[in-house]
């Protein structure tokens, strides 16, 4: 299956399919991009029901003002021999709310599974809220799984390093946010789409209250 990118902009919400099945030997690579001015619930259920199958689910979000966004992933490995990787990075500013619920289920007898999940969040304002809830349900024993979730602020040392090179504080913060989101954009295979999205994301960051 191809590398699918779903972009949610104000007035143009291209939502990903709520439920996808991935069969023997197939791979799914999906990226979700949520730009400021959007409030949405985004459920993503993937049933990995074949072996030698791989799933990559990536996403980035930028929320500002009173945006309210939830991403709810539900990856179910039902047979042996597949992998899934999830990476969701995002930045909440203004009075926005973001939540991430990420479930990985590995059925009994679904052995030799690798399933990884990462959700990293940065709060740019004291009034923004982020909830992150990873959930692993593992009923098999020969599997490799991990999840990691962080909520933090922009790194002060990084900011000072840039400012000491003459980069003004606001510009340093913009670069930091770009840097933070870059691993998600790096997962988009189509080079020209990746470049145009990087530009759009950068423009949106510049409009946000950093």
């Amino acid at each position: 299956m191809a590398n699918e990118v779903y972009i949610l902009r104000p007035g143009s919400l291209r939502l990903p399919p709520e439920h996808v099945e991935v069969h023997d030997g197939e791979s799914l690579n999906m990226t979700v991009i949520v730009l400021p001015g959007v409030s949405a619930q985004i459920p993503l259920r993937v049933d990995v029901c074949g072996s030698n199958a791989s799933v990559t689910l990536n996403g980035l979000y930028l929320t500002d003002a009173s945006d309210n966004v939830s991403i709810i992933t539900d990856i179910r490995h039902t047979v042996s021999g597949s992998t899934s990787t999830q990476l969701f990075n995002g930045v909440a500013s203004g009075q926005s709310r973001f939540s991430f619920f990420g479930k990985i289920l590995i059925a009994q007898d679904a052995q030799k599974i690798e399933a990884y999940q990462t959700n990293r969040n940065i709060l740019l304002s004291q009034n923004a809220t982020v909830d992150t809830k990873p959930q692993l349900e593992i009923y098999a024993d020969d599997v490799k799984c991990s999840h990691g979730a962080t909520v933090g602020q922009l790194n002060a040392d990084e900011q000072f390093y840039m400012r000491s090179r003459g980069i003004p504080e606001v510009e340093a913060k913009v670069l930091q946010v770009i840097s933070f989101l870059s691993p998600v954009l790096a997962g988009i295979e189509d080079e020209s789409l990746r470049a145009s999205l990087a530009e759009e994301v950068e423009n949106e960051i510049r409009k946000m209250s950093v």
């Binding site: 390093y161 000491s164 090179r165 003459g166």
Partner: protein, 250 residues
């Protein structure tokens, strides 16, 4: 003579929070001079470089720093950079997702904007970048690498000297630049520092060890202990410290 003074620190008291670390530092640096500040751990060396560059969290409680006739302490870190101050960091920071090219372009054009100049033309910038990379013997492919990500200790320090060459500072602070470097990397760094040094520019080398001072010869050497400069002399002080350590100075 007064016109020759680039930087003047007077009775500087500074620290973090309630803790006073610098307890009355006086230091005058003239154009063209290289100074070394040596001292044991905990003497206040890092605090001195932090205060010179305006690192947040550090508080100056009294005293003054004048740079080219201006009150340095009232300036933000970026304003200090635009005025010609540069620090080579002891621990250069990794910035994933930001290439060296993009980082330097942003830095140089921010300075030009602050000085009321147009952004540099892309072609001119790339020419400058290539020239300065060659100058510090950095391989051209580093231009596309993310800032300091996956760099060895030597590569990180070389990248600091490369940035120094790009920004052409009037006053450079080399903060423990020699720590963690092998002799080859140390020589490249020292060659860079020496080649960038002119009669109009000055540098301060802040260090625990004498290693770098074998290659970059200081005009003036200060010993910093417990937040004060306890001795000032010439090159011979470096040898005295190497022989008998810091205990001989009170």
């Amino acid at each position: 003579m007064a016109n020759d003074i680039l930087l003047e620190i007077k009775d500087l008291h500074a620290g973090i929070g309630e803790k006073e670390i610098l307890k009355g530092v006086n230091l005058t640096i003239r154009k063209g001079e290289i100074h070394a500040v040596m001292g044991p751990n905990g003497a206040g060396k890092s605090t001195l470089s932090a205060v010179l560059t305006g690192k947040p969290m550090y508080e100056v409680t009294s005293g003054s720093i004048t740079f080219m006739g201006k009150d340095l302490l009232s300036m933000s870190p970026e304003e200090r950079s635009w005025a010609g101050i540069f620090m080579s960091f002891q621990y250069p920071v990794e910035i994933p997702g930001v290439t060296i090219t993009n980082f330097m372009k942003t830095a140089i054009n921010a300075k030009r904007e602050a000085l009321g100049l147009e952004p540099m033309k892309a072609g001119d910038f790339l020419k400058l970048l290539k020239e300065k990379m060659a100058f510090v013997k950095m391989r051209p492919e580093f231009a596309k690498r993310e800032v300091n990500v996956g760099f060895s200790g030597g590569e990180k320090k070389r990248n600091e000297i490369f940035q120094m060459a790009m920004l052409e500072p009037k006053f450079s602070i080399l903060d423990e630049t020699d720590s963690g470097l092998d002799v080859d990397a140390l020589k490249i760094v020292a060659d860079g520092v020496n080649a960038l040094h002119t009669e109009e520019t000055s540098a301060i080398i802040i260090t625990h060890y004498q290693k770098l001072l074998e290659y970059v010869v200081p005009d003036v050497v200060h010993v910093l202990k417990a937040g004060r400069i306890v001795t000032t002399g010439g090159r011979e002080l470096v040898d005295a410290i190497e022989k008998n350590g810091f205990d001989q100075f009170q």
